[in-house]
């Protein structure tokens, strides 16, 4: 999925590069905050220097290593993690973007994997889109679902599942604007999303299992599940009792927390259903050129090629050959992306208000210390 040079034209590659650079700049600041508030006893609380470089570096090395871990599917085929969703859930979206971007950068420079001019495109689709979509969806679901470990696993599954085709959608969009060949975008989208939904299933299963494994041992290390900490216990006369919650760790106002949750559920469900249905019927009527292709029997061959030769067929499952179905899926994913983007804007606006007092800290890039 690493796009090579010449796949996307120069202006769009450059624009994607600018976008990627901006995202990395924002993430460099965000990661500092993310990795610092994990400060745990004995591990760096009050140590007095930035933990971003070593921690993000090690997580990047982990992502790099885990991409080499083969998950056998059947009959000699195997799949492996892409890692964007996993990184976002485990260490947070900013650090996630940084880690995956660094992995992509080094893959391009050291292994010639993915073109240098396509680096912006690759970072945008594989680092930015996957982590942001996965994290937003994950947080949304964790808020909506009951507070338990199973919910975290389920949320990881859905987040990872959607993140992969979402990245394919973004790639298709980039291709639609800056593709160097005139291909029916509908067709590209169908093929890309179809294949990636299948890859997404594999990604989702592995991500959910991995997050589940971490949360079973070190729940405090799962960034996306911070709210799930067990209550402290006190040993009173040999029996364990719940410690009274300290004011700052207590949930702010339970009632206020519940109403946005309901809004979340309602919004998410309606938009997903709507998008699913609308795209399902919209894609039922293929446009003229696709029909021509179908009449010539080219469509058939093309689909076969797409699954047989594509490296993305790692998971070894057949394509979603129902155009309607994949169209519907694309719609659902599209809405997912939109919801995420909307929420992002909302958060950004809300954050601005609190950002003022932090500004002095973030504006000094090097010297921040605890």
């Amino acid at each position: 999925m690493h796009a090579p040079d010449g796949f996307i034209d120069v202006p769009v590659s450059a624009a994607a590069g600018v976008l990627a650079a901006g995202a990395i700049a924002v993430s460099l600041r965000g990661a500092r905050r993310e990795l610092d508030d994990t400060a745990r006893p004995g591990a760096g609380g009050g140590v007095g220097a930035d933990r971003t470089a070593p921690l993000a570096g090690l997580v990047a090395a982990f992502i790099f290593a885990v991409q080499m871990l083969n998950f056998p599917v059947a009959a000699g085929t195997s799949g492996h993690l892409l890692g964007g969703a996993l990184a976002a859930i485990l260490v947070g979206p900013y650090t996630g973007v940084l880690c995956v971007s660094v992995v992509l950068l080094l893959q391009a420079v050291l292994f010639a994997d993915g073109g240098l001019t396509a680096l912006g495109v690759n970072i945008t689709t594989m680092a930015l889109t996957t982590t942001v979509v996965a994290y937003a969806l994950f947080r949304g679901l964790v808020k909506v679902l009951p507070r338990s470990r199973r919910s975290v696993t389920a949320a990881s599954f859905v987040a990872a599942l959607v993140s992969v085709p979402a990245s394919a959608v973004v790639f298709t969009l980039l291709y639609a604007v800056g593709g160097t060949t005139d291909v029916s975008i509908g067709k590209v989208a169908t093929a890309m999303v179809g294949v990636h939904v299948l890859i997404g299933l594999g990604e989702a299963a592995i991500t959910a299992l991995t997050v589940g494994a971490v949360i079973a041992v070190r729940p405090d290390l799962v960034h996306g599940a911070r709210g799930l900490r067990q209550k402290l216990k006190l040993r009173v006369d040999g029996e364990l009792v719940d410690a009274p919650e300290t004011p700052e760790s207590a949930e702010p106002v339970p009632a206020a927390a519940r109403s946005p949750r309901r809004v979340w559920i309602a919004g998410l469900v309606t938009s997903l259903v709507l998008a699913g249905f609308v795209s399902f019927y919209a894609s039922a009527n293929p446009d003229g050129l696709e029909k021509v292709a179908a009449d010539h029997g080219i469509d058939q061959r093309a689909e076969e090629h797409a699954t047989a030769d594509s490296p993305l067929a790692d998971y070894g499952v057949k394509d979603v050959d129902d155009a309607r179905l994949s169209g519907g899926l694309a719609g659902v994913i599209g809405v997912g992306v939109t919801v995420v983007a909307g929420t992002g804007v909302f958060w950004a606006v809300r954050r601005r208000r609190t950002a003022d007092d932090e500004r002095s800290e973030t504006s000094s890039p090097a010297g921040t210390s605890v």
Partner: protein
């Protein structure tokens, strides 16, 4: 996608290309690839000229052709895509051996193949002639955010350590008779991945302590200053400049 990552591309050597400062090489390769990508696809001879230019560099760097060609295999997925293009692209069609192919698609396939191959070849030459840590120095000199370079250098330093841990876990699994054969074994593999994450993160914390103990305050001290003379710059930039001439000719002819 994943198979090639363990392969180290660097070839030790003392050719003039090896000796160039890393940031000049990085800049040269990037500029070269940009020029290649901007070349109109109809100027087929231009791509041949680019290939000759790279051939000259490979000769100067004493990188054997076989090595270079083998590494081009990383491109295979996109060859598959390129093969597909003439079938699915739109516009005017021609009949070749009874197949109806899109002219536009044929051009598109050529475009992706030619530019992609040249891009990979240029990157392979860069990686083959530049050591890992030199590349990092080069990225730093090219004004990448220092924090990003630090993250990258930690990744490079600990990539092997963590891959090794992963290998040891696999051996431990196999020693106990476990062999992953299908989806039902994913749980066990994922547990390993989870354990690997915890170890990596905790190691990150310990590394941070070790750094702080030696006076780290958030900025990496400068130990090696890589500098390039004007001659070295002009030597390195000869490649993209020659390519630019070819490209301009390609546009005007």
């Amino acid at each position: 996608m994943g198979a090639g990552h363990t392969h180290r591309l660097h070839r030790h050597g003392d050719s003039p290309v090896h000796a160039l400062p890393p940031h000049t090489k990085l800049a040269a390769v990037l500029a070269f690839v940009i020029v290649v990508v901007s070349t109109p696809r109809e100027a087929m001879w231009a791509f041949a000229a680019y290939a000759v230019l790279l051939g000259v560099v490979a000769y100067a760097a004493r990188v054997p052709a076989g090595f270079l060609l083998k590494r081009l295999l990383i491109e295979v997925p996109f060859v598959a895509f390129a093969v597909l293009l003439p079938f699915v692209a739109e516009g005017e069609r021609v009949d070749v051996l009874g197949l109806s192919l899109s002219v536009n698609g044929l051009w598109g396939a050529w475009n992706v193949l030619a530019k992609g191959t040249l891009g990979v070849a240029a990157s392979v030459l860069l990686a083959a002639t530049t050591e890992l840590r030199e590349l990092l120095h080069g990225l730093q000199r090219l004004r990448l955010p220092p924090l990003l370079v630090q993250i990258a250098s930690f990744m490079v330093r600990y990539g092997d350590v963590i891959t090794d841990e992963m290998r040891r876990m696999r051996i431990a699994r196999e020693s106990r008779g476990f062999e992953a054969r299908g989806i039902r074994h994913w749980g066990v593999l994922a547990k390993s991945a989870g354990a690997l994450f915890i170890r990596s993160y905790e190691r990150g914390e310990r590394v941070h302590l070790a750094m702080v103990s030696r006076g780290y305050t958030g900025v990496m001290p400068v130990i090696d200053e890589v500098t390039a003379s004007r001659a070295q710059w002009s030597y390195a930039l000869a490649l993209p400049c020659a390519a630019l001439v070819v490209c301009l000719l390609g546009w005007t002819l």
